[in-house]
C-alpha cells in the first residue's frame, strides 16, 4: 500500500528532501562502499544470543543490519536531488515462555545489544501472559559461519554519482529530442549488508544488491489540453550496475515494434521509443468497451501475477493476520485441500527465492532458512502457500519455505512474498504466433493502474501501451483501456503461454504490508500469455 505514496513523493510531485528520513542517515557516497568486519558483527551477535538465553529465551536470532540506499533524481536537463542513506543497527528476536519478543538498537556496542536482548525477553514474557497457543517453530539446522552475495558484475555504489547523473541527463536529452515535453528519470540503488545469527548455530553474512531506474515521459498537446505519459519498460532487478549495459541479447522486440528488456536494459533506446509512443498516444483512438482476448506482455503480467496470485497465497493473509490492513484471501485452506482449480491446466506458478536477477534472490531468508523453489499452482490447481517457520506446522509441513524478511534492522521479520512466477509454456510458441490466432483482442505492454479487493477477487489493471488485434494482426494503437477480472475466472481463461524464449522478469521495489508498514522487493517472471474473453472498460471521461 505504501507504493503509491512513495512514488508520489519521489517522482512527479516531489519536494524531494523527504527521502532520507525514511531510510536512515544521509551520508557521503563513499560511505556506501564500506563494509563492517564480519568479526565485529559476530561479537555483537554473540552478545545478543548470550544475553537472551541467559535471561530465559528458548530461541533467539540477532540481525546486524547495514542498509544502504542511493537515489539520483533528475528531470529534463537537471539533477533534482542526490541522496545517500545509511541505516545501521541490531534487531533481536526471541522466544520466551512460548511467545515472541523483539527489541532493536542502533547503539553498536555489545552492552547495548545485550540490553536490547534482555528487553526483547521481557517483552516476550509480557506477551506470553495473553498468548493462548505457544509459538511452534519448524526446525532449522544451523549452518555455521557462511556468506552469500548477489552475483553482480559491477557494484552500483562504486560508480561515481557524476557518471549516474550524466547518464540520466543523456537519457532525458534524447527523450526530449524524440518528442517528449517532459522527462522524469531516477536511479534507486540498494545494498543490504545483513548478518544473521541464531541459537540454532547459524552465522550468515549476506551482501544483497538491487537496482531500479524508473522514468516517465510526458507528451502534451497544448491546443486540446490533452497529455499522455509513457513509463519506462525496465524492471527493478537484483543485479548490479551491469543491468544498464544494454546487452542486445536481452532485447525482445514484439510484433507491435515495441522493444522490451530482459536481464539488461538500454535506457536511452527505451526513452527515445517512449517519447515517440507518448506522442502517438495523444492521437490514438479510444477503446470500444467489451469482451476481448488479451495478450499480455511480461512487462505487464508481473503486476497481475503479484496481485492475484502472490498476495492471496501469503499464509498470514489466508489465516487472517492481515485482516485490518492488507486484507485476507479468497484462497482459503479448504481450497488447497479440495485442489481448487485456480487456473487452466496451462497455469503453473512457482515461488522461487533462488532465481538469478530477481529482487527476492538471497541465500538465506531473515530467519536463517536456506532459500528454495516450490510449487504454488500446478496444472491449474492450488497446491501450496508461502509460509515461514512459525506457520509451517499449520500446513502440515516440516520446514519453512524461507520467505521471511524485515525491511530494516529495526523491523520485526515476518512472512513476505517470494518471487512468484508463471512458468513458460512447454510447447514452442512465439508472441507473433500467439497473436496470429487472436480474432478480436488487445495486446498490452507495460504496467499501469492497479487495484484489487481485500480478498483478491476483483481486480482492475491498466497498462502503458495498448494495441488492437483484429483477425490475427495488430492494427493500431488504442487508448483508455483497463480490464476487470475475477481472479479464478481470469486464470481459468488462460488459453496459451509463450515458450521460455520470451520469459522475462518484472517486479516491485516497494511492496507494502504490515502495521507498522514495511516494504519489500519482489520479482515476477512470465512469458507473454493469452487470456480469452476478458472484460475491458473504457476509462475516458470528460470534465466538461
Amino acid at each position: 500500500m505504501h507504493r503509491r505514496n512513495f512514488l508520489a513523493m519521489t517522482g512527479l510531485t516531489a519536494g524531494s528532501l523527504l527521502v532520507p528520513s525514511l531510510y536512515g542517515r544521509a551520508v557521503a557516497a563513499e560511505v556506501l562502499q564500506e563494509t563492517i568486519d564480519v568479526k565485529v558483527k559476530k561479537t555483537l551477535a554473540d552478545a545478543g544470543l548470550n544475553a537472551a538465553t541467559g535471561s530465559g529465551a528458548s530461541y533467539c536470532d540477532v540481525r546486524v543490519g547495514r542498509y544502504l540506499r542511493q537515489f539520483v533524481i533528475t528531470r529534463e536537463d537537471r539533477v533534482e536531488n542526490v541522496v545517500n542513506t545509511e541505516s545501521l543497527g541490531v534487531g533481536i528476536r526471541v522466544i520466551a515462555d512460548g511467545a515472541w519478543g523483539f527489541a532493536a538498537t542502533n547503539d553498536m556496542t555489545t552492552e547495548a545489544v545485550a540490553r536490547a536482548a534482555k528487553q526483547a525477553v521481557a517483552v516476550a514474557k509480557a506477551n506470553a501472559k495473553i498468548q493462548t497457543v505457544p509459538v511452534k517453530l519448524a526446525p532449522v539446522k544451523g549452518v555455521g559461519e557462511v556468506s552469500w552475495k548477489t552475483p553482480i558484475k559491477k557494484n552500483s555504489m562504486e560508480v561515481p554519482i557524476k557518471e549516474k547523473a550524466e547518464r540520466l541527463i543523456d537519457v532525458n536529452t534524447a527523450a526530449l529530442k524524440a518528442g517528449a515535453d517532459y522527462v522524469n528519470s531516477m536511479m534507486f540503488l540498494v545494498n543490504e549488508q545483513k548478518y544473521f545469527a541464531s541459537t540454532d548455530g547459524s552465522y550468515i553474512d549476506q551482501d544483497v544488491h538491487r537496482i531500479w531506474v524508473p522514468m516517465t515521459l510526458t507528451a502534451i498537446d497544448k491546443e486540446s489540453g490533452k497529455f499522455r505519459t509513457r513509463d519506462g519498460l525496465s524492471a527493478p532487478m537484483g543485479l548490479g550496475y551491469e543491468y544498464l549495459d544494454g546487452d542486445a541479447k536481452q532485447k525482445f522486440t514484439d510484433p507491435a515494434g515495441v522493444t522490451g528488456y530482459g536481464l539488461s536494459y538500454d535506457m536511452k533506446e527505451d526513452a527515445i521509443a517512449g517519447a515517440k509512443q507518448a506522442r502517438e498516444k495523444l492521437k490514438a483512438p479510444s477503446v470500444k468497451p467489451g469482451k476481448y482476448d488479451l495478450v499480455l506482455d511480461p512487462s505487464h503480467m508481473w503486476l497481475t501475477i503479484h496481485e492475484s496470485v502472490g498476495h492471496p497465497t501469503e499464509l498470514d493473509r489466508v489465516l487472517g493476520y492481515e485482516a485490518n490492513y492488507a486484507g485476507t484471501s479468497f484462497a482459503t485452506l479448504d481450497k488447497r485441500e479440495a485442489k481448487f482449480q485456480y487456473g487452466s491446466e496451462n497455469v503453473n506458478i512457482v515461488a522461487d527465492k533462488t532465481q538469478f536477477g530477481s529482487l527476492g534472490f538471497v541465500g538465506y531468508d531473515d530467519e536463517g532458512v536456506k532459500t528454495k523453489k516450490w510449487d504454488i499452482i500446478r496444472d491449474g490447481k492450488l497446491v501450496d502457500y508461502q509460509a515461514i517457520r512459525d506457520q509451517a506446522h499449520i500446513l502440515g509441513k516440516t520446514e519453512s519455505d524461507g520467505c521471511c524478511y524485515a525491511d530494516s534492522w529495526s523491523s520485526v521479520q515476518f512472512q513476505r512474498m517470494a518471487n512468484i512466477s508463471l512458468e513458460p509454456g512447454k510447447k514452442k510458441l512465439s508472441v507473433a504466433d500467439m497473436i496470429k490466432g487472436v480474432e478480436n483482442g488487445i495486446y498490452i505492454v507495460g504496467d499501469g493502474s492497479f487495484s484489487i479487493d481485500q480478498q483478491r477477487y476483483n481486480a482492475q489493471f491498466g497498462g502503458q501501451l495498448f494495441y488492437e488485434i483484429k483477425n490475427g494482426k495488430i492494427t493500431q494503437m488504442i487508448e483508455d483501456v483497463a480490464y476487470q477480472i475475477r481472479t479464478p475466472e481470469f486464470w481459468n481463461a488462460c488459453s496459451a503461454i509463450c515458450d521460455e524464449s520470451d520469459y522475462r522478469l518484472g517486479g516491485s521495489f516497494f511492496d507494502g504490508k504490515g502495521q507498522p508498514g514495511q516494504v519489500s522487493a519482489v520479482s515476477h517472471g512470465s512469458s507473454t500469455s493469452r487470456f480469452n474473453g476478458i472484460n475491458v472498460i473504457n476509462t475516458a471521461r470528460s470534465l466538461g
Partner: protein, 444 residues
C-alpha cells in the same frame, strides 16, 4: 533522547548554525516517541515503542547544496555533521532551481499537543486491544486492529535568524471486525489528537454492528447510483485529488487544472458551488504545525471556494519564476458541509447505497483524475430513507472532480485519517448522484 524542550533544542540548533562556514545553513531537529499495538484473530500479535531523535543539517555554497543527518548531539558530533554537509555541498552539482533559506518568520503557535496522548502507557494500549477483542469474542466475532499513538517535537533554525519549535501528538485507531463464517465485515477508524476523546468500547460497537449486519449481502447490478458516502469513504478520493493542485504541473499542461491552450484554471468554476475546501493550521479539531517543510508560515488558505479553484500550490522556485507568491503547503484539509449526520442523509434518500469505506484507490487517468477502488466493510442498500439490506461490494471508477459536481447534499464534517494521505482532514458525509460502480466484488 526522544522529546527535547524548546531551550534544549535551541541550544543545539544555535551551535550548529554557528559551526557552519557555508553561505547559509538550516538545521532541523526532530524527535518522537511512538507506541503501537496490533491484534488479529482476537489476540494481540505485536506491540512496540520506537524512540527517535534526529538532526538534519542543510548547507549551501552558492547553488550547491549538501545535506547530512545524525542522531548524536555532543559537540564533536555536531561539528562532524556540519563538516559532512559542507563536504557534500562542495561536491554537489549546482541546482538551477535552488532557493535560498527563508528569512526570519513569525509563526502563530497552534494547539497540536495533548498531554493525555503523550502519556499513554503500554497498559493503556493493551486495554484498548482488550476493549476491542472482548466484546467481539462474546458476540462470536473476530477482531483485527491497530492502535498507534505518539508525541513528537519539531525545531529548526537557519542562518537568517529564523527559528521554530512546537510539540505535537496524534493517535490513530482502526479495527476490522469479521463474522466467524467470513460473510460479514465491519470497520471503524478514529484519528484524534487527544486520546481523552477516544472511547474504544463505544467505537468497537460500530464495527461489530456493521459486521453482523453486512452478512448475507445481495448482489446489485453495477451502474450509476445515488450514494451516501461516510466521511472516511470519500476522504481518500479527495486527498488523492489534492496531489494535483500543483501549479507547476498545471502550468506545464499535465494536470486536470491545466487550461486548453496553456495556463491553469485558477479562479475557474470547477466544482459544484457548495464545495469549499481550505487549510487552517489552527482549526480546533484538526490543528497542525504552523509551518511547512520549507519553514513557510501556514495560515488559513482557501483552496476551493464555492466551487472555484481559489489557490494552487506554488513551490518557492515556481512562484518566483511565475511572479507569484508561494503559500505554505497545507497540513490539513477542511471541507465545509452542513449539520446533518450520515444517518440524516440516509433518511432523506429514496433509493441509494450507503458506503462505509473505500479501499485500494489508484489513479486510472490523470487527465480527469479518474480513480478506481472498492467499497468494503459495510455497503448497504437504502430505500425510502431506511437501510434495507447489505449488498455485495462494488468496484468504482469515478473522478472526485465529477463526484464533487454531483452533490445532492453535504452532512457535518468530521475528522478522518487516511493511511495513504499526508493530511489531517475534516470531511462531511455526502449524498452524491450518479456515482459510477463498474463491477461487483465477491470480497467480504
Amino acid at each position: 533522547m526522544g522529546i527535547l524542550t524548546e531551550a534544549e533544542a535551541k541550544a543545539i540548533l544555535d551551535k550548529v548554525i554557528k559551526l557552519s562556514k557555508a553561505d547559509e545553513c538550516t538545521a532541523t531537529l526532530s524527535g518522537s516517541i511512538n507506541g503501537n499495538i496490533r491484534f488479529a484473530l482476537n489476540n494481540v500479535s505485536t506491540s512496540g515503542i520506537i524512540t527517535n531523535t534526529e538532526l538534519g543539517v542543510q548547507v549551501a555554497f552558492g547553488k550547491r547544496v549538501g545535506i547530512a543527518t545524525i542522531n548524536a548531539f555532543d559537540d564533536a558530533s555536531l561539528e562532524r555533521v556540519v563538516r559532512r554537509a559542507e563536504d557534500l555541498a562542495r561536491l554537489a552539482p549546482e541546482n538551477p532551481e535552488f532557493m535560498p533559506a527563508v528569512g526570519k518568520q513569525t509563526y502563530t503557535p497552534t494547539n497540536t499537543f495533548s498531554e493525555a496522548t503523550a502519556t499513554v502507557t503500554p497498559e493503556q494500549r493493551a486495554e484498548v486491544a482488550a476493549k476491542s477483542i472482548t466484546p467481539c469474542k462474546q458476540a462470536k466475532l473476530i477482531a483485527a486492529g491497530f492502535l498507534s499513538d505518539g508525541q513528537g517535537f519539531q525545531a529548526f533554525a537557519n542562518s537568517n535568524g529564523n527559528f521554530g519549535y512546537q510539540k505535537s501528538t496524534s493517535m490513530d485507531y482502526t479495527c476490522t471486525v469479521r463474522t466467524e463464517d467470513g460473510r460479514g465485515s465491519g470497520w471503524v477508524a478514529r484519528n484524534l489528537q487527544s486520546v481523552a476523546d477516544f472511547k474504544p468500547d463505544t467505537e468497537i460497537q460500530i464495527a461489530m454492528k456493521k459486521a453482523a449486519e453486512s452478512a448475507d449481502a445481495k448482489a446489485l447490478e453495477p451502474g450509476k447510483y445515488t450514494v451516501i458516502m461516510e466521511p472516511a469513504a470519500s476522504a481518500g478520493l479527495i486527498s488523492f485529488m489534492m496531489n494535483f493542485f500543483d501549479a507547476r504541473s498545471a502550468d506545464e499542461g499535465r494536470s486536470f487544472l491545466s487550461k486548453k491552450g496553456g495556463g491553469n484554471k485558477l479562479g475557474e468554476q470547477v466544482y459544484d458551488p457548495r464545495v469549499t475546501v481550505y487549510a487552517d493550521p489552527s482549526h480546533p479539531d484538526a490543528a497542525v504545525l504552523p509551518w511547512d517543510g520549507e519553514g513557510l508560515p501556514r495560515k488559513r488558505l482557501p483552496i476551493i471556494e464555492k466551487g472555484k479553484v481559489a489557490s494552487l500550490q506554488y513551490s518557492r522556485y515556481w512562484a518566483q519564476k511565475q511572479g507569484k507568491t508561494a503559500d505554505a503547503s497545507p497540513g490539513n484539509l477542511i471541507m465545509e458541509g452542513g449539520t446533518k449526520s450520515t444517518m440524516d442523509l440516509v433518511r432523506s434518500t429514496q433509493k441509494g447505497i450507503l458506503v462505509t469505506r473505500t479501499w485500494y484507490i489508484r489513479m486510472v487517468d490523470p487527465q480527469t483524475v479518474l480513480l478506481t477502488g472498492l467499497t468494503r466493510d459495510g455497503t448497504f442498500y437504502i430505500e425510502n430513507g431506511q437501510i434495507k439490506y447489505p449488498i455485495k461490494n462494488f468496484r468504482f471508477n469515478e473522478s472526485p472532480v465529477i463526484m464533487l459536481n454531483n452533490i445532492e447534499e453535504l452532512g457535518k464534517p468530521v475528522r478522518v485519517g487516511d493511511d495513504e494521505s499526508p493530511f489531517v482532514m475534516m470531511i462531511p458525509a455526502m449524498k452524491l448522484r450518479d456515482f459510477t460502480f463498474t463491477s461487483l466484488s465477491d470480497a467480504v
